[in-house]
Amino acid sequence: MSPPTPDLEKQVHGLRASAGLSRADHVTMLHVEGASAFDLLEYASTRRLYLRESQVRHALLLDDHGGVFADVYIGSGDDGFYVLAEGPGEAALTAWLETARDRQLPGASARIRGLSAERVCLGIDGPYAWEVVSGLLGPAVLGMPYLTLLRREEVLCLRAGKTGEYGYSLLVPRAEVDALLLRLDEVTRTLGIPLVPVELEALDACALENGHFAMRTLRASPLAHPLTPIELQLQWRVAYDKDFIGAEALRRRRAEGPTVRATSFTAGAPVPEGATLHVDDQNVGEVLAARFSPTLQAWVGSALLKRRFAHPHVPLSVSSDAGPVPVLTRTTPLVDNLSLHVDPHKHTFATREGAR
């Protein structure tokens, strides 16, 4: 549980009101190419990957037991596939894919290459992130549909985001990062858009505010082991009718009938991660993750609850050192994102008063 800090508040408010810039060192970047690259990634990922060039799929990689191993974007480029993953580092993810290749497709031609030596991943998120990124890379950014890739010179741009606001990940050659940051500074000054540096803690707080999954919120729980997409409400990223690593275990869990489900909540006081949640005297689950939400001015979190109670508007309580803390389960998303009100064809940061 992270205590609220003025800096965290500043970061989240900045991201929610204009745009935030993060250095996404927590994102692992891989390039997969070769005649069998598609077969390998199709076998590895929970979703079908029939992608046109520049399309991106948001999927998961599971372990053999159905547990979530990585949260991945897989994009089809003109030279192979790009994998942007949260969870395992570069060496672990490369080894995992190589093992999958050798196990399922022996002798296959699928080369897996980590990109961290060549590139840096920068994140730009916020209701006016589109304006910043189009100022940097050109007007083609305005036409990017959600979950697509765009290459501009040597920069690869992915439109996605896990904060509920417009979001872009820029894969920038290391040698060009300093020059790009200078250009970014110039662009934001010209547009008059505050670009606030944000850290991972702020991104995770935004994800919790929107009810989005974040790998950092995963923790071992005695209530369900491992935590699969079923408990984590990520089944929209699973194609049950295809084979993938962990599919058998996942189907078995589904057939057995899962007993718990991740559910968002808010509380007026700090809530310890791992703490037990109660309805009256009944133990109904435990806290997976909790952070202070600068947007809601409350603690926001995700709890693993018995399915009977895993619905919004359920009053619970949790024990803490300071006594019982009332907790209320919530409907996601918990915030009305400004990005929903901002239309790049009508608004700019300079004319933002008309947006909401």
């Binding site: 948001h58 959600y146 979950l147 996605a160 009810g211 409400q233 990520l234 089944q235 929209w236 049950y240 009718d241 589904r254 489900r261 991740a262 559910t263 968002s264 309805v279 009977r308 109670f309 895993a310 619905h311 919004p312 508007h313 359920v314 009053p315 409907t331 996601t332 998303p333 009305d336 929903l340």
Partner: protein, 99 residues
């Protein structure tokens, strides 16, 4: 002051309405799997179930015809259609079943 919550009654009604909304969405999505696999916190648009603006119209029509709930106003539509649970809230609120 709101009346004390009858939690068991609320949870029974919530589960029932969730089932209705899942079946509605499954029919609009032409979903071939079990509607029970549609997660309550899944977003309706973009990431999540991936509905588009035409599907949104179908959801509005389905809510009105199948579930007797009419959504009016841009805000109500924007907020009420963000996730499966948000739709369940809309239906339960209209029926006077939301705490």
């Amino acid at each position: 002051m709101s009346p004390p919550l009858d939690l068991d009654l609320y949870l029974d009604r919530r589960e029932h309405t969730l089932g209705e909304v899942r079946r509605l969405l499954a029919s609009i999505l032409d979903y071939r799997g079990d509607p029970a696999d549609i997660d309550p916190d899944a977003s309706l648009f973009g990431t999540g179930l991936g509905l588009d603006s035409l599907d949104a119209v179908e959801v509005l029509i389905g809510l009105e015809i199948d579930l007797g709930v009419r959504l009016e106003g841009d805000d109500a539509m924007r907020l009420g259609l963000r996730s499966v649970n948000a739709v369940v809230d809309v239906v339960m609120r209209a029926r006077g079943e939301l705490p």
